[in-house]
Amino acid sequence: MNSIVCIKQVPDTESIIKINAEGTGIVEEGIKYTANPYDEYAVEEGLRLREKFGDGKVTVITLGPKRVEETMRYYFAMGVDEGILIQDDEPGKRDPLSVAQCLAEVIKGMDYDVILCGKQAIDDDSAQVGAMLAEFLDIPQATVVSKFDVADNKKSAVAHKEIEGGEEIIEIQLPAVVTAQKGLNEPRLTSLLGIKRAVSKPIETREMNVPEAKMKITSLERPPERPPGRILKGEDEDVVQELIHLLKNEAKVIG
């Protein structure tokens, strides 16, 4: 079972995000880059499929600058076999469409049963590349998947998709693109042996002409500050009375 996992390196959630001088991007200095959490579920699923079927390999692929190799090595330490880095020194200028076009271009020539992605990256929160990639490769897609069972013949799978107020269970022909939601699995921790082995695993670097982005950021801004709130003080009974009064008459959010 061959899996290709599309990954992205993103700023750690705890990082302080500053707007750069041009006002259209962020200041990279001081940011701690890390694995996108949803990608970890995608990678884990690829590893589990390789283990279940006892054959094939797991390849991670990404578009980005050299620093992305660090995140690749982390996945290697989890057990991923190899990586492909589409070298891109201006990741801030890309939109999901241009990224999906590049990934599709490379993946077209590869041998795979399933392509796994995180359901979204936590930097631009676009949640687009998986479905776009499926379209460019002309294969079906299952997005926001929390359970994935591949049939023994590897020709199809059953995917559980989270939807509002419930779950859709679909049968999907393979190869397909699957985007991972939290709950799909519990990603493994890296072992010391894994970290040692990761050093010698191969990263193939590709250079490509990235198509021009269709979507452009003209400016970035901070969200409007919420007006300072109020701490209600007093005996529990009085505080509760006051809260209900405020919700009813000031906020007007209860009847």
Partner: protein, 328 residues
């Protein structure tokens, strides 16, 4: 040809509220650029929904009604939408940023070779007559103003619960679309649709959310939040922080925050939630936030409109009791 197009979302023959939100904003955009507002309605036996779409401002309704469109499946829905776009060449196409819209819109954008902006919270027309969009990034730490470049149609998905709906009745002339679906091109099949067993509304659609965190101390204490939600009425539901979900106290589908759901209710009541940045990412655009927590330094108080420092196990039942008195 031109037009502002809305993909109106229905499931099981019922329109989602967000469809009316999209029509409301679409009507404004259409009037600004002097183009017609078109509602795209896809499904089986859904013609009965036409009058509602006209009420919210649709000049025309493009109807794709076919037995193969009964269940939402990405591939046939993509084909129907893209075929109609190719013939009619709209300038804007809007989806809802729901699971359906988020699944469908990137596939449509890729097939049409155009750009897409996800989860928009503001839409306007700029001086050049192009769509200008505001959307959150970095879990809401920043907002980006976005425009499209050499892209037609300009596609966006819009976050639910952000735009207040407004009726604006129009003719709503129905145009029936030819639907030709090649079954060999449909490579997924809906096997089962499972509804959450709880009788409550979904988190992303709720007007009021009562949410519990680590301070709830265990799953056995959530009934006090259930009681409060019940007292708040049928549009209230239960949420949870990541720590409550990871501890196994609540299902994953209840999680609010970065690895859970983004919610925008009118009222969010955070009980025993400290307010980690990941949690705030999912709920800080709620209209009003109430925080109940023992720790006066909990970051949640910085986001809360009304804060109560105290024992939630005393406060929450008191609120429930008072609400019940109001009703009776």
């Amino acid at each position: 040809m031109a037009g502002i197009w809305i993909f109106t979302e229905q499931r099981g023959g019922e329109l989602k509220k967000v469809s009316f939100e999209l029509l409301t904003v679409g009507r404004t955009l259409a009037d600004r650029v002097g183009e017609e507002l078109v509602a795209l309605l896809v499904g089986r036996g859904v013609e009965k929904l036409v009058p509602e779409l006209a009420t919210y401002g649709a000049d025309r309704i493009f109807l794709a009604d076919n037995e193969n469109l009964e269940d939402f499946l990405t591939e046939p829905y993509t084909s129907v939408i893209c075929d109609a776009v190719k013939v009619n060449d709209p300038s804007v196409l809007l989806f809802s940023a729901t699971t359906m819209g988020r699944d469908l819109s990137p596939r449509v954008a890729a097939r049409l070779g155009t750009g897409l902006a996800t989860d928009c919270t503001g839409l306007d027309i700029n001086d050049a007559g192009l769509l200008s969009i505001k959307r959150p990034m970095f879990a809401g730490k920043l907002f980006a103003n976005v425009v499209f470049h050499n892209a037609k149609p300009q596609i966006a998905s819009v976050r639910p619960n952000v735009i207040p709906t407004q009726e604006n009745p129009r003719a709503g002339e129905v145009v029936k679309l030819e639907v030709g679906i090649d079954p060999s091109r449909v490579r997924t099949k809906l096997m089962e649709m499972k509804k959450d067993t709880g009788a409550r509304v979904d988190l992303t659609e709720a007007k009021i959310i009562v949410s519990g965190g680590r301070g709830m101390k265990g799953p056995e204490n959530f009934p006090i939040l259930e009681d409060l939600a019940t007292a708040l009425g049928s549009e209230a539901t239960i949420g949870a922080s990541r720590s409550a979900v990871d501890a196994g106290w609540r299902p994953q589908s209840d999680q609010v925050g970065q690895t859970g759901k983004t919610v925008t209710p009118d009222l969010y009541i955070a009980c025993g939630i400290s307010g980690a940045v990941q949690h705030l990412a999912g709920m800080s655009s709620s209209k009003y936030i109430v925080a109940i927590n023992r720790d006066p330094d909990a970051p949640i108080f910085q986001k809360a409109d009304y804060g109560i420092v105290g024992d939630l196990f005393k406060i929450v039942p008191l609120i429930t009791e008072e609400l019940k008195k109001m009703v009776s």
